[in-house]
């Protein structure tokens, strides 16, 4: 612990040392490789949000934001290289959008005293702030997603899903395996049958899994997919004529790029979401005026308004609010890495703030605390309308089964704390 404090102090000093007056936001993007289809809108949205902040407000608290992009190709080795290359520049907040890279970074950011925000991905038990001091995963996590999906099915079926067959098609990696424990616990609680169908990286080969689905005819198929795996799964589902309205993807399997290649056959496919979808947010007017019309959009500029683009707009907004909070708490505009962690930990999101920055309804109101780094865990269900080419939100934002999830989080995070000799915080 002493060593950790010392390194944190050194990291803080190093960040405070040079008088570079800018707020560095690293963006570990993946615009290449099999996951680029998701990585491009994510990287574009994040970059455009901070371009907007710089153009419209002149930065945050008067200090311009510099987005430092580094290409990882969703590869953990390159992710580590990117982290090491960018952390020395005073990077405030890492958002890798990759569960594999998140697992690499959790111990590293904790030792270096830098904040890590994994919104709806990464290690779910990081929601326990007592154990994970520098990692945040608000507003919702994978286990929330699993529970929201089951709750949705409960609502659809009048509260009884006993004996129903539910299949989980998942990316055979840390990401895809995350919901299994929760689903198994929920299966016991609600009495449904769960079958597991792993798909290996990168996910182009799914014939056998869908053959099995065709044979077993599960009532519902859940999917934890990412990148090229999503398109292939939806195509395979269409090929075996699986009813699309019974096919529900997690929030990383519900973007335009996943369904458009399948065409009309993808109509009715459902996916969860943790942020509002569509382009009906006032912030898009600002983006149009300050970013797109000024020719400053990131990448090819063709991702505006897509699901994943909006998600990183929302991620950018949350980071923006955390920086404001840190500036307010410490009374300095050019905040350090340690101050950013404070800002994240004391972040409060209210409807007034969302209204002020043009993202009304994009996410819930919530407050982060020392103990709770996970937020409220709300999720909604969206459905793809192939004719109109839009995702429609078909349910309200609803809470997950916190009773089940909190117990699982407690168990997993305590195991991690014991394994790594971590002293509990927030006492």
């Amino acid at each position: 612990m002493k060593l950790k404090l010392a390194t944190m102090a050194v990291a803080g000093l190093m960040a405070a040392g040079p008088v570079l007056a800018d707020l560095v936001m690293p963006s570990l993007s993946f615009r290449t490789g099999p996951y680029a289809v998701g990585g491009i809108p994510l990287a574009d949205g994040y970059a455009d949000y901070f371009t907007l902040v710089n153009e419209r407000d002149g930065g945050i608290g008067g200090v311009p934001v510099r987005v430092l992009e580094c290409e990882t190709a969703y590869n953990t080795e390159k992710g580590v290289e990117c982290y090491e290359a960018t952390k020395g520049e005073g990077s405030l907040l890492y958002q890798p959008f990759s569960t594999g890279i998140t697992y690499q970074l959790i111990p590293k950011v904790t030792a270096d005293g830098i904040a890590l925000h994994t919104m709806g991905y990464g290690r779910t038990s990081a929601a326990n702030g007592k154990v994970f001091s520098n990692v945040f995963n608000f507003p919702a996590n994978y286990w929330d997603a699993a529970s929201v999906a089951i709750n949705y099915l409960l609502d659809e079926n009048g509260g009884d899903i006993k004996g129903r067959k539910i299949a989980l098609v998942y990316h055979n990696s840390a990401y895809g395996k995350e919901p299994i424990r929760t689903l198994e616990t929920l299966a016991e609680k609600h009495g449904f049958e769960l079958s597991l169908l792993p798909v290996d990286h990168p996910g182009q080969e799914q014939k056998s899994q869908w053959l099995q689905i065709r044979r077993e005819k599960p009532d519902t198929v859940l999917m934890w997919g990412w990148g090229v795996m999503n398109q292939v799964a939806i195509q395979e589902a269409a090929n075996i004529r699986y009813p699309m309205e019974n096919f529900i993807g997690v929030w990383w399997s519900g973007a335009e790029a996943d369904v458009i290649p399948v065409g009309a056959a993808a109509n009715g496919y459902k996916a969860l979401t943790m942020n509002g979808v569509g382009k009906n947010f006032p912030i898009y007017d600002d983006l149009q005026k300050y970013v797109y019309d000024a020719g400053k959009s990131a990448g090819a500029g063709d991702q505006s308004g897509t699901v994943l683009y909006s998600r990183t707009i929302y991620a950018g907004f949350l980071a923006h609010m955390a920086i404001l909070k840190a500036q307010e708490m410490h009374g300095v505009a050019d905040i350090t890495q340690a101050m950013m962690v404070d800002g994240m930990e004391n972040l409060v999101i209210t409807n007034e703030m969302m209204e002020k920055y043009g993202v009304t309804g994009m996410g819930p109101e919530f407050a982060v605390s020392c103990e709770n780094h996970g937020g409220p865990g709300l999720g909604a269900v969206t459905q793809w309308d192939a004719a109109a080419g839009v995702w429609n939100q078909i349910s309200e934002f609803k809470a997950s089964d916190k009773e089940v999830i909190d117990a699982l989080i407690e168990e997993d995070s305590m195991a991690f704390a014991a394994e790594n000799n971590i002293d509990l915080r927030c006492n």
Binding site: K4, R31, T32, E69, E71, E84, G88, P107, E178, N421
Partner: protein, 370 residues
Amino acid sequence: MFYREAGDFSTTYAEDQQTFPIKFDRYRYYLVLFIAIVVVPFVVNDYWVNSLLLPFLIYAIAAIGLNILVGYCGQVSLGTGGFMAVGAYSCYKFMTGVDIWWGGELLFRLPEFNIFFSVIMGGVMTALVGVLFGLPSLRIKGFYLAVATLAAQFFLVWLFNRVSWFYNYSASGQINAPERDLMGILITGPSTEPWAAYLFCLFFTIVCAVIARNLTRGASGRKWMAIRDMDIAAEIIGVNPLKAKLTAFAVSSFFVGISGALFFSVYLGAVEVGEAFGITKSFLVLFMIIIGGLGSIFGSFAGAAFLVLLPVALKVVGVDWLGWPTDIVAHLQLVIVGGLIVIFLIAEPHGIAQLWRVAKEKLRLWPFPH
């Protein structure tokens, strides 16, 4: 003028048979060792160690291992990624204490091994697995053997994904290296000082290279090369193919296992078998030895350096200096590295090691080439 035997007299057999018989060469070697051991640890930072030096050293060990099998013994292997995974998972099990179950009950649990011995055990277990998968090499050759080792690659990755015992039943299926120290100095975990991690890997690299060098120029190396050049002739002159091939598999897998163990415990700290030890890893190490030079220890280092450092160098030039978009640079990187591999194979099929040999020949004649 500098690089020549003239005036360098050996008075004992031992002197005559040393690895670097030429004085200039020997001093250059000592200088490289001196800089690597004494100077580098004082000047490196996190970035240099974690992004360049550790991957270079670790891939160099893997390349030496594969070079023994492919370059010296002529047995093509595409299972390097799988064997590295064996090293990594054995290292993890030994550093967290191997638990043996029987009929649903915990029979006993080995004490946690020190990180140093965990890495060694990673090598030992991989050597055993390597011998097992090397058995078919007695009956099948060439491309067929390549396919058999490819099966090893897929089987091992599947195994480590499927059997949760290997990752201590963690929900995510990942293995995470806990903090471990060697004589009070942290070697694994996030608080490790960069120099400690560097020296730990450097130690293994030097020892592996010295062992490999001496094995390959001794009796066993000659047997391997005899098998490589013509196995029937080798058998007729009295080389036992069973022994030669299996020792090559064992020694090669031992080194590959050590590199896998270091790759997981010291370099990454957390791995996921499909992503870290997939088929691409096997090809990467194979490219390293092809570009570096088959049948050369120096070539293994050169190949590892080429494929580890070049992408980073291109990224620094493209993104940091020229300010190009990151995706363009990433694509260019693939094009340039791929192009260079093709050019190398056409212009210098024997790899970078051959360039080095030619340079030494030129030095020998310089300044009066005839």
